[in-house]
């Protein structure tokens, strides 16, 4: 029906990234000697691309559980910030609420930020279909990789870069549509600063935290801009 079709259309930008990263995961897991069941379990219940890859190395290296817990937390901690920005979104969805919360990924978060809901559709129904379709797509891709991954006839190297480019289009749209550029600029400056100070693997969480603090400090200035004149 109409809602499903609209939701499906919103997920197209992340389609190739999910499919090919999922396939890569499925292939890797089988190569490292795990069972198809493990692939299904991981993609269904963890459903976090980078985390699933890291988990493979945890198992193979026999990492102690406390290390696994701490590293998992920091690898996924950016999800906390996604949630902070979406607190109202899933209210009233009843039994679907936990599912919506637990299926937020980098890509689904970006999709949520990019949607303009048509007036005749229920936003929460759209969101649910998006969450569900992306989740199923991920599971199917991982399984497909596990089962048939070796038979890719074409060299698809680089196609997962489409996810990065999707994020870029969302940033561009936000830049055009949002009345204040301060949040984007704050994010950029703190990201670059911490990238140089802490290195590529440690800059995200400080960047997110400091951005949030700076935005709170600049609340009056930003609010003024948001309520002020129309964007030229």
């Amino acid at each position: 029906m109409k809602t499903l079709r609209f939701a499906a259309k919103q997920t197209v930008p992340i389609l190739f990234s999910y499919v090919f990263v999922g396939i890569a995961f499925g292939i890797l897991m089988i190569e490292e000697g795990f069972s198809l069941f493990s692939v299904i379990l991981s993609s269904t219940f963890i459903y976090a691309g980078s985390m699933q890859f890291v988990m493979i190395s945890f198992v193979l290296s026999g990492a102690p559980l406390i290390t696994v817990a701490i590293l998992t937390f920091f690898i996924n901690a950016r999800h906390i910030f996604y949630g902070i920005g979406m607190l109202d979104r899933f209210k009233g969805m009843g039994i679907k609420y936990p599912y919506m919360v637990l299926t937020v990924t980098d890509e689904t978060y970006s999709v949520y930020q990019s949607i303009s809901y048509p007036k005749d559709l229920d936003p929460q129904q759209v969101d649910f279909y998006i969450a569900f379709l992306c989740h199923m797509l991920w599971i199917v891709s991982c399984v497909f990789g596990a089962v048939a991954g070796q038979i890719m006839p074409w060299d698809m190297t680089g196609i997962e870069f489409s996810a990065t480019l999707f994020f870029v289009t969302v940033v561009v749209n936000q830049w055009i549509d949002f009345k204040s550029h301060i949040p984007a600029i704050v994010g950029f400056i703190s990201g670059i600063a911490f990238y140089f100070i802490l290195g590529k693997d440690n800059f995200l969480l400080p960047g997110l935290s400091v951005s949030m603090i700076v935005l709170m400090l600049l609340k009056d200035k930003v609010t003024l801009k948001l309520e002020g004149k129309k964007n030229v």
Binding site: S38, I46, T72, Y109, V171, N173, G187, Y195, F203
Partner: protein, 111 residues
């Protein structure tokens, strides 16, 4: 593929539950309470910072200091930005940008 080692249950559960925790934490902490004006403001402005940081994050593993100096990525991003500003068509921007990237890493910028 139906045989093969299974995931150690304890490790799987730890990864799963901690991942769930990071997703659920804000909703657990703030969900029931009403949203204060400050939080409402954060809800509106934070996503733009997050998305910018997400772009930087997804470009973090590129080697900018040695050939090809991140040129395939930066050129493709520039193409995508330009196209998105011009046409505001997400599919088109991603399609052209991705093709650009895949072609660049196979031709001008062989690593």
């Amino acid at each position: 593929m139906f045989k093969g080692q299974s995931l150690p249950l304890a490790m799987f559960l730890v990864v799963m539950l901690v991942t769930w925790l990071t997703r659920a934490l804000p909703f657990l902490v703030f969900g029931k309470k009403g949203i204060s004006p400050t939080l409402r403001y954060i809800n509106i402005v934070l996503p733009a910072s997050i998305m910018m940081l997400l772009v930087l994050y997804s470009l973090r593993n590129v080697e900018y200091l040695s050939y090809p100096y991140g040129m395939p990525e930066l050129i493709s991003v520039a193409v995508t930005v330009a196209l998105q500003r011009l046409k505001k068509n997400t599919f088109l921007s991603i399609l052209v940008g991705t093709l650009c990237y895949m072609i660049l890493i196979r031709t001008l910028f062989l690593v």
